[in-house]
């Protein structure tokens, strides 16, 4: 079920009420039941897959401990089984399509599969989470979990099950093991969790879903639009994907917090990043750190030759792109980020020299702002590939940005024909200012909204909370006639 669905509005309070009153020993069991019910809200059959993944990695953990000398083979087997499941459900169609394309080049008949594959929601997230656990046990970072039910809850914990944050066993599993000791009735923790959820709903329902109207209109028929509209849509897509994805994480973190769990932060003002490397320290932190720990470092990381380091970087980002989806658009997006990182690293000394030579002051607002701007332009350029329906569409759109310069649309009212009328644009504008303010507080004061509000006076807390609440209730995109948009990251 979606976080912004009526089902979840009923589901979550019911789960909470029961969770708060049942005996402590039953807490993990109740959360496990709730998590499977939550997941089966999409498709009951999906539960079989997550159960298989859970059993395989659970047994894998136990086997690694028992047969330490064969642990390499065991971990390889567990990783292989999980990746095979992931490959089959997520990449088989993509793979077959590409094989057929190659076959057609040689005039051969294309291969047909006699079945349909339905992509299970969030498969990449829980597979990575479970694999992280297996590798941690293999490395001896953690002890294998003996209690199957608690381990199953770790893999399926409903707030972060389908779109992260991808939790580490060291963090979430440890908390699940201490679930009986959680002091549930903690006013401050509960209200902070609720604030995070509220902020998540604001990002999703007010900003992301409103912005998506323009993005969809332009990206789905880009040939109707010129340079300015495509640039606007691309900037708005950067906002959309941030708000959409960060909203899910915020709601997940908030919901878990209300229940007494601290999930890891997934976004930290990514568009204030000063470089691409900085961007990846702020964007989808749980995935980038996962890839760093389980892909980049095992490949050799940066403690090797420059060439090897760049290859490692490139491969890591290639995998990141592929993780996002079975489409060349995601692969290219990942490759672009890989190239960005390599170029950034390779030109660092040249850039530093240039700064010195040109006497550019670096410790001031204008320099940082310039860095932020350049980083945003680069990431937004990559987002074009991420959002475009096909690789060729992305190339054509970039072509149109260069060749179809049409600044007059900013002045003749055409921009209001992109799906949002003038009222909607005003609402969006106000909402974006709110987003900017919240992110500025996060950036400057290094505190999240919930913590920031906790230190403020009651009138201000109420004003902000009611402001957000009624902004969502009035200007949120929901209700009959509006089909709740899937959170973008569910498909990954």
């Amino acid at each position: 079920m979606l976080f912004n669905s009526y089902s979840f509005m009923l589901f979550f309070p019911i789960v909470l009420c029961i969770y708060f009153v049942i005996p402590k020993k039953a807490r993990h069991l109740w959360l496990l039941v709730a998590s499977y019910y939550f997941y089966m809200g999409w498709n009951a059959k999906y539960a079989i897959l997550i159960a298989i993944s859970t059993i395989v990695t659970y047994l894998g953990g136990l086997c690694i401990e028992k047969w330490k000398e064969k642990r390499k083979w065991i971990v390889a087997g567990v990783v292989l089984i999980n990746l095979c499941i992931l490959f089959f459900f997520k990449y088989f169609d993509f793979f077959l399509g590409n094989v057929n394309r190659i076959l057609s080049l040689f005039g051969a008949n294309s291969l047909q599969k006699g079945f349909d594959i339905l992509l299970p929601v969030g498969i990449s997230f829980y597979t990575f989470q479970a694999l992280g656990y297996t590798i941690d046990v293999y490395r001896g970072t953690i002890k294998p979990e003996k209690n199957f039910l608690k381990y199953a809850l770790f893999v399926s914990f409903f707030p972060q099950l389908v779109a992260g944050p991808i939790e580490r066993s060291g963090n979430l599993l440890r908390q699940i093991n201490r679930v009986e000791q959680i002091k549930l009735w903690n006013y401050r923790r509960i209200t902070e969790g609720a604030v995070l959820m509220l902020w998540g709903y604001f990002l999703k329902m007010v900003i992301a879903d409103r912005v998506s109207i323009v993005v969809d209109q332009v990206y789905d028929s880009y040939w109707m639009y010129g340079s300015v509209e495509i640039i606007i849509a691309s900037v708005l897509f950067a906002i959309q994907i941030y708000c959409d994805f960060a909203s899910y994480s915020q709601i997940a973190i908030g919901a878990a917090k209300i229940m007494g769990f601290e999930l890891m932060e997934n976004f930290n003002t990514p568009y204030f990043a000063l470089s691409i490397r900085d961007f990846w320290r702020r964007w989808h932190i749980s995935l980038s750190t996962w890839l760093r720990d389980y892909v980049y470092i095992p490949l050799g990381g940066s403690r090797c030759s420059k060439a090897r380091k760049y290859l490692n970087l490139f491969l890591t980002f290639l995998i990141s792109g592929l993780w996002h989806g079975a489409n060349w658009t995601y692969v290219v997006w990942g490759m672009i980020h890989g190239i960005y990182q390599i170029v950034e690293d390779a030109t660092e000394s040249v850039r530093q020299k240039l700064v010195l030579k040109l006497h550019i002051m670096t410790n001031n607002f204008s320099y940082h702002f310039g860095q932020i701007l350049v980083t945003f332009v680069l990431t937004d350029f990559a987002w074009i590939f991420f959002r475009a329906n096909h690789l060729s569409d992305a190339c054509r759109m970039i072509g149109r940005i260069v060749t179809k310069w049409n600044p007059w649309v900013l002045f003749d009212g055409s921009v209001y024909n992109l799906g949002l009328n003038i009222t909607e644009v005003h609402i969006l504008f106000v909402a974006l200012i709110v987003l900017l303010l919240v992110d500025l507080v996060r950036y400057k004061k290094q505190v999240t909204l919930d913590k920031f509000l906790s230190t403020q006076n009651l009138w201000f807390r109420f004003a902000v909370i009611f402001g957000l609440l009624f902004f969502i209730l009035i200007y949120g995109e929901y209700g009959p006639g509006f089909s709740a948009k899937q959170f973008i990251y569910f498909q990954f």
Binding site: L458, F466, L469, F470, L473, G476, G479, P480, F482
Partner: protein, 507 residues
């Protein structure tokens, strides 16, 4: 702990107050013909104050004239319906109505027996359920009306929260800002006339004797309606209002007649009694389905006679408890008078039409009006109000309150010329007539200012609720305001052409 509890309580309290405010502002306000307002106003009625409860679709709430029922027969009736209301909604409206009213008669229009849809489209669903208070009836009505989205429809708010972009004055004021709305009895007045519709009349309508089966769901609820009336021991009259039915619809109504007979319930298809009503097909219909203000009295009189003949219905005229029916009737008659005034083109007849005690009238004169060869008739009429225009003063206007026929303002006494070269005048004092206007109306009448001249307005300017009316360059401008219904009737002009007043008005 106590402090936290207090915070939580105040949070929910503030939330409830704010949310109810937003809920009230944002909720659907269809025009008064649609089910929502009819139901809301119904809830405000005193208990057991209605003798005849009428149910059904627009055929019912447009055609049954509650003012005629009251004025001529003393029948206290209420029309409770919604557009294209399926019989299942009629059934739940009836159940809801019988919670607070114990009428002497239930009248149900059976047009919807001819509908075949299993569910309603969304706007019909909203119109026919959103006016109901939260109740089991509402839940049941939503469940049978829509195949899905039940929770959203029940909450209502998710459906109408996005109305923020279409909010207007009526969303913020009680009773949509309509005067005496609390006296309204559910009838929707149609004023337009469709003369071309006469050709649709089916001459051999009485010869259709075949029947056609009613769709299962409509049939089920027709039976439920009949059973409900029997359970409650309240007489039921099934009718079809006069319109231009198709042959299929007539066959359905023949089946309704059979069902009525099987259940020992009277049914009258008024499509078979056009002549008895004296309907004039070229003037009495607003469209193919509804009578206009000229047609509804004719049908309602025949309906009332049938009701009186078949059932015991008391006459409440002259009872002080029924003052709201008197007010409803007064408002209705004034609206009819307004419509007749609007339809009057000829100047002489128009002056006669202005003699209503509920009118506030502004006479604006401009240009060389006094030198028109047919000015005498206008001059004489104005003189009857004690208005003697100054032929040399140019633009001038006079406000007459028809309640006592007194001139309450004359611009001649309150304006001065700006300078010798300018044609513009400035008012030194504005008409003080706020007490006569509706609470939400703002009106400004003025001799044109320099700004008005720049905008092309050279005669007396009327600004009603921030919209400017200045229909002519020179001649006579008339602004008519209905103080009972608190609305502008019209602003028109009789312009000067070749030294004469044109006797047909100009908007």
């Amino acid at each position: 702990m106590k402090k936290n509890a207090l915070k939580i309580i105040s949070f929910f309290l503030v939330f409830a107050i704010l949310f109810s405010g937003f809920y009230n502002v944002l909720q659907y306000r269809f025009e008064d013909e649609d089910g929502i307002e009819g139901m809301k106003q119904f809830y405000k009625l005193k208990e057991n104050s209605v003798d005849v409860m009428c149910f059904g679709s627009s055929h019912m709430f447009v055609d049954i004239n509650t003012a005629v029922l009251w004025d001529e027969y003393g029948i206290a009736a209420y029309n409770l319906g919604g557009t294209i209301q399926p019989l299942w909604n009629t059934y739940f409206y009836m159940k809801e109505a019988l919670k607070t009213q114990n009428p002497k008669l239930l009248v149900v229009d059976c047009f919807s027996a001819s509908l075949t849809e299993e569910y309603q489209e969304e706007s019909g669903m909203i119109k026919n359920t959103f006016g109901m208070k939260f109740s089991k009836n509402k839940i049941d009505a939503i469940r049978v009306s829509a195949p899905n989205n039940h929770l959203a429809y029940l909450l209502g708010y998710p459906g109408f929260h996005s109305r923020y972009s279409v909010l207007e004055r009526e969303d913020f004021v009680e009773g949509k800002g309509i005067a005496h709305y609390d006296c309204w009895k559910g009838q929707h007045l149609l004023t337009q006339t469709n003369e071309e519709i006469a050709g649709l009349r089916m001459e051999n309508i009485k010869e259709i004797t075949d029947t056609e089966e009613i769709a299962d769901k409509q049939s089920e609820y027709l039976q439920k309606i009949i059973d409900l009336a029997k359970e409650e021991n309240i007489p039921l009259l099934l009718i079809n209002t006069p319109y231009f039915p198709t042959e299929r619809e007539e066959k359905i109504y023949n089946r309704v007649a059979e069902i009525a007979k099987e259940n020992d319930v009277p049914y009258i298809n008024y499509n078979l009694f056009y002549d008895e009503m004296g309907l004039d097909f070229s003037s009495d219909f607003a469209d193919g389905h509804h009578l206009n203000y000229k047609g509804t009295p004719k049908f309602t009189r025949l309906l009332a006679q049938d009701m009186k003949a078949l059932f015991e219905i008391p006459d409440h005229r002259n009872e002080s408890d029924y003052w709201d029916y008197d007010m409803m009737s007064a408002c209705y008659h004034q609206k009819i008078a307004n419509q007749e005034l609007i339809e009057t083109k000829d100047l002489e007849t128009y002056f006669d039409g202005l003699n209503s005690e509920n009118y506030l009238v502004v006479f604006g004169l401009s240009g060389g009006f006094a030198y028109a060869d047919n000015y005498a008739m206008i001059g004489n009429t104005l003189a009857e109000y004690g208005i003697y225009p100054d032929a040399e003063a140019g633009n001038q206007f006079y406000v007459v309150n028809q309640k006592d026929g007194q001139v309450i303002y004359s611009s001649l006494d309150n304006t001065k010329q700006t300078d010798s070269t300018s044609t513009a005048t400035v008012e030194t004092k504005h008409p003080r007539w706020d007490s006569e206007l509706g609470s939400y109306d703002v009106v400004s009448v003025r001799c044109p200012t320099e700004e008005d001249y720049k905008n092309g307005y050279s005669s007396v300017v009327v600004e009603y609720n921030h919209r400017i009316y200045c229909p002519i360059y020179e001649g006579l401008t008339v602004f008519v305001y209905d103080t009972l219904n608190e609305t502008m009737v019209e602003t028109v002009g009789f312009y000067l052409e070749n030294g004469s007043f044109c006797l047909n008005k100009w908007r």
